[in-house]
């Protein structure tokens, strides 16, 4: 884009489609194609948590 471009006009038909859903009962792993992370809902002590896993290092975080 250049500076004189002032609007985003997406090609027709562009839409966000649901590609995955993760719940406590069905904790599917949602793998991003944009950032090297995947996301899953898991049980936690106080509440359900988001488990984030690095695709390359397997490092994990609980949120």
């Amino acid at each position: 884009m250049t500076d004189d471009l002032t609007r985003v006009v997406p090609p027709a038909g562009r839409r966000l489609e649901l590609v995955g859903r993760s719940t406590l009962s069905e904790p599917a792993e949602l793998v991003s194609e944009v950032i090297p992370l995947s996301f899953r809902i898991v049980s936690g002590q106080q509440r359900a948590e988001i488990l984030i896993t690095h695709a390359e290092t397997a490092q994990q975080w609980h949120v």
């Binding site: 884009m1 004189d4 471009l5 002032t6 609007r7 985003v8 006009v9 997406p10 090609p11 038909g13 562009r14 839409r15 966000l16 489609e17 649901l18 590609v19 995955g20 859903r21 993760s22 719940t23 406590l24 949602l30 991003s32 194609e33 944009v34 950032i35 090297p36 992370l37 996301f39 899953r40 809902i41 509440r47 359900a48 948590e49 988001i50 984030i52 690095h54 975080w61 949120v63």
Partner: protein
């Protein structure tokens, strides 16, 4: 935060507007301010919906929110001012944690810009007439969005929306597709769910000012 049972302080509103708030302050409502300018006002206060047709009241409410710093999460949807509920502590915790993890993973220098709340619009000029504020936005080094300082023209490569009651997350999906957000993670908390949305197809078309 917009209180669920807003009580107008004495003298805050005059005449009909104060009466309107009183009438609806026990319910959930939507206020639309239709006015002489293009920006209108939608307040989620109570139910049922309510239209405020007085531009002075609209301006007064918006000014109050700005003065109090409550407008940080407000948005404008195609000219309609949308007052969003302020995030809870848990909401902010998730936002901060995700943004920190993303920035750590992607690197703090150069590889990506991670924002915990940022203005995203589909236009450079007049952007305040149409913008959304994703909870977390990741702009990769190769992003096609443009950082204009006040806002980004174009959606993030990866965005996160954390659902709260009344924050109308799903109504934003069309906008995020329009600005070509590549992936959007929607976090639900009652119950806890994750939904990953992906832009189908790809590509930009840009128009110049004189083509509008």
């Amino acid at each position: 935060m917009v209180p669920s049972t807003p009580a107008a302080p004495p003298g805050e509103f005059d005449g009909p507007s104060r009466r309107i708030v009183k009438e609806y302050d026990k319910q959930t409502a939507t206020l639309f301010a239709l006015h002489s300018r293009r920006v209108s006002l939608m307040l989620t206060l109570t139910d049922p919906s309510m239209i405020v047709a007085d531009p002075d009241i609209r301006d007064h409410l918006i000014e109050q929110r700005r003065a109090a710093g409550h407008d940080r999460y407000d948005e404008v949807w195609e000219g309609t001012y949308v007052i969003m509920p302020l995030p809870t502590d848990e909401h902010q915790h998730v936002t901060t944690a995700l943004a920190t993890i993303f920035q750590t993973v992607l690197g703090w220098i150069g590889a990506a810009l991670v924002r915990a709340g940022v203005n995203v619009s589909d236009r450079l000029e007049g952007w305040k007439e149409n913008y959304r504020c994703p909870d977390v936005a990741v702009f990769l080094k190769e992003t096609r969005a443009i950082n204009d300082g006040t806002h980004w023209l174009g959606g993030p490569d990866f965005g996160v929306e954390i659902r709260s009651p009344d924050n109308r997350t799903y109504e934003k999906l069309e906008f995020y597709a329009k600005v070509l957000t590549r992936e959007l993670l929607v976090v639900g908390r009652d119950p806890w769910t994750l939904e990953l949305y992906r832009l189908q197809g790809d590509g930009w078309n840009e128009t110049q000012e004189n083509e509008r």
